[in-house]
Symmetry: C2
Subunit: 132 residues, 2 copies
């Protein structure tokens, strides 16, 4: 089932704006900010409001098509959900970001699930610290 059908199946509609956000996400290899997407879309379609981009990212996330991650700045990064799940390390002093195999975070996730009944999403926020 394609995106269009899945949207309609949950009572959503496929609009020009939505398709543009989707395309921007597809074209972007890695994490993109909402601003990035908005700017890129507005280059060709200046009438499209940034808030529309934000709302569409939210909507597509509810559908499980994209996810977002918080880094150490206050800017949210978005990417397709079908991409390889991974954690993030970000260095507080030099700002470098690196990805992390999700398996490394599994033991903690399991521990939180078993001992605290908490299903943690450890990829949701970057881990902050100091790299070498």
């Amino acid at each position: 089932m394609g995106i269009d059908e899945r949207l309609r199946a949950s009572g959503m509609r496929m609009t020009v704006q939505r398709r543009l956000v989707l395309e921007a996400l597809q074209r972007a290899r890695h994490h993109v900010t909402a601003e990035d997407i908005a700017t890129r879309i507005r280059a060709r379609h200046p009438q499209i409001d940034p808030s529309t981009v934000y709302r569409n990212l939210e909507a597509l996330e509810a559908l499980g098509y994209v996810t977002h991650t918080h880094f150490d700045d206050r800017v949210t990064r978005w990417h397709r959900a079908d991409a390889q799940r991974h954690g993030h390390l970000v260095c507080r002093s030099c700002g470098a970001e690196q990805e992390l195999p999700i398996g490394l975070l599994e033991p903690l996730a399991r521990r939180l699930r078993d001992d605290h009944g908490f299903r943690a999403d450890l990829a949701h926020s970057a881990i902050v610290g100091i790299c070498k």
Copy 2:
């Protein structure tokens, strides 16, 4: 060495505003938002600007006197650095927050240090997920 001396030792100054932020942090038992502090101070000293509170929290953090933690909303929470270090769980659906013994996060921290040379601060961001 008291706060005043430590401030001056690193070229900082003790101002009325800074002392008020300090006092507010001392009075607050747990995590407080900058807004909380600003509002409380401004009740008696309306001329003090919120940005001054933010800058002072930053300054005191640089001195190692306070730290901040990111929860899932975009609001930063502050607390004295001498308080018991702990992790945070926050539920994405009901919003409940609970604290976590820091020891639980140690194995992951050790792993990141040993395998990736990354000194992680796992208390810096709350762990997001779904509680029972």
